[in-house]
Symmetry: C2
Subunit: 385 residues, 2 copies
């Protein structure tokens, strides 16, 4: 397999884009990416999207988006792995370029969630859970995460306010990200007093839905080296693993085994360990998920993830900066696009383009995208050359 | 890239499987395939499915099916490219094995269409068309194909009864396929007198929906050569292309440019021409599509596809046998599974396991799967070794 590098990135602001259609959003991200890469076409377009069939009455997004942006007759496919759909598209784009099957590929994530009523969206999101054993009982994803968080607090003795640091960090960092949905810092008191959605999860534990699209263009590393310009970023590792779709089937519902497995494999491929990671874009769909991800990926002992939020380890100047441009919590979580937003943000950090949110001397960046309640996890590591 | 071969195949009957859930259907195909291959596990499971979010309130089928069949912690992703979802999953499985990223991969297609009312299914299928320019005007896929067929008949002077041979051939061949939905031969008179659905398309021009699942297991060719047993089949070519999603955007709505492009590329990869193909599993969702596919792939002159149905060229003993185990028309068209059914049937032919439907001395078999009204087409060629 050949080594693969990032030639271009692009993204739209995460927002309620009532003035733009699904293809206009995705088109904006793709065209920005082509422009950033300085090329006019690619061999393949891989689309990450979870919900367009239900939310936009439009499936078949490969042909739909390729057609819209004028990429005539190219290969184009949609990938769905719930909230990890974006990373699923990215991983296949990577394999397509690495294998030599294509020389240039764009992975684009897109989701347009605010065209339907919230109750309908909650039902659609629940299709990522087990329809027969979870969905049929009315369990939404907030409820599933609330069950996990409650058990975690009971098992390890944490109080709800101990999670405040995750939300405060994400909001503080999003201030510097022009593409983020919420660019407003919050205080610990605001976190503590926020409206409860599904006890113990409150509104500041939970990431917001939104409309958005992000894209990344991959080429063989050898081709990149011929084109001078921006700082070079290569894909150092790609790994994925699944866990049971229903939480009740797991030996330990408080352990993200697919995160552990894919992170370990990614470290192995990159030839590094967690101590080498300078930026970690993790999947903070809910603050409990940030804690569990840090533990599964080797940054905290089991049951001690919240310590990193309390002691500042996760901030831009801390030991392991996370959600450096707002994370799911504050950049927003347009589900099928999120995995690509995370990768775009890692690339911004490694290119030293993150402005006031820049992590100094970032060399290795990791993006981890979770589908379902931990049932499908993709871990990618990038290296600045 | 390494060469890739088929180690195992499996399928369920296409039927109204009201007694089986989506995962039970897919599980049956996957477990049969593992058994046929003589292995107990794989590295990756790629799922082709179009409609489960709407029809079964279940998405995230990668983790869902891997979990169900006990393939713990493996890579698993769902692919969607409308009615070509199955082939999209197959192509990515192929690239994953070819690139060396995984050593064994199953591509499984599954669709469970009969749990919802027909009107709802028609609406869901229309999400493969352009929602704003086709779907919004109430155009169903039957209607889109009726427009194409009408124009084709006008342009080239064919009568509706000239298409009878396509349906007669599919029904005759399905008699020998225990997995086919309709195992009953039909006559020319029955075709002519069949109920019209959307003029000029009648019920015997159109493939039926259905529930079903089919799977194929891929390994590097070098590994296959170590394991004696069934006749060896390798993947000789894989190609795909897109066209505009809406028919009105095409220069020529009567020409499947993505079929032509992907077939030419597939012939190039395999080092052969159309005259070398012994079996062609084409995408006869409607009889007009069979005619257009034969033309685009080099088996008939433009506008002369129906001649092959009239003169017997497409039958088991003809020049280019198509739909040898019933095709979409008579095996049935569980949309996201169809691409894999086609590949499974080609493998059956190349392994000389097709019973009374066996094409003598079949060496090269081609499977071509169409998504939307020709907007996404995958062409695969297989070779018996």
């Amino acid at each position: 397999m050949r080594e693969v590098a990032v030639l271009g990135i692009g993204q739209t602001k995460v927002e309620e884009h009532w003035d733009k259609s699904l293809r206009e959003l995705a088109g904006e991200a793709v065209l920005t990416t082509l422009s950033d890469a300085g090329v006019s076409s690619v061999d393949a377009l891989y689309v990450g999207n979870m919900l367009s069939g239900a939310s936009n009455r439009q499936q078949h997004l490969g042909a739909y988006i390729a057609d819209w942006v004028g990429l005539k007759n190219i290969e184009a496919i949609r990938f769905e792995a719930a909230c990890s759909s974006g990373s699923a598209a990215f991983r296949s784009a990577l394999m397509a370029v690495a294998s030599g099957e294509v020389d240039t590929a764009i992975a684009v994530g897109v989701e347009k969630m605010t065209d339907v009523l919230p109750a309908e969206m909650t039902k659609s999101l629940a299709t990522a859970a087990d329809a027969e054993y979870e969905g049929a009982h009315g369990l939404s994803f907030v409820a599933l995460n609330a069950l996990i968080m409650k058990r975690y607090m009971y098992e390890y003795g944490w109080k709800h306010e101990d999670f405040a640091g995750f939300s405060i960090n994400s909001h503080a960092n999003a201030v510097h990200n022009p593409y983020a949905r919420f660019r407003k810092p919050i205080t610990e008191q605001e976190f503590i007093k926020a409206v409860v959605i599904s006890e113990p999860i409150n509104i500041l534990d939970a990431s917001p839905v939104g409309d958005g699209s992000a894209a990344v263009l991959l080429v063989p590393l050898e081709n990149l080296q011929k084109s001078p310009g921006k700082r070079k970023v290569k894909v150092a590792a790609s790994a994925t693993a699944t866990d049971s779709i229903a939480i009740h089937s797991r030996n330990d519902p408080l352990w993200l085994s697919a995160a552990e497995k894919s992170a370990k494999e990614a470290y192995r491929q990159a030839g590094i360990g967690p101590e080498d990671i300078d930026v970690f874009e993790l999947h903070d769909a809910f603050s409990i998920m940030a804690a569990l991800s840090l533990e599964a990926c080797g940054f905290a002992e089991r049951g001690r993830g919240p310590e990193l939020a309390k002691n500042g380890d996760i901030t831009l100047h801390g030991r392991i900066p996370i959600c450096t441009l707002g994370g799911l919590k504050s950049r927003g979580h347009p589900v099928g696009a999120t995995g690509i937003y995370q990768i775009v943000e890692v690339v911004e950090q490694l290119r030293q383009e993150a402005g006031p949110a820049q992590v100094q001397d970032a060399r290795y960046g990791m993006a981890q995208n979770i589908g379902g309640s931990g049932s499908n996890i993709f871990t990618h590591i990038f290296e600045a050359l």
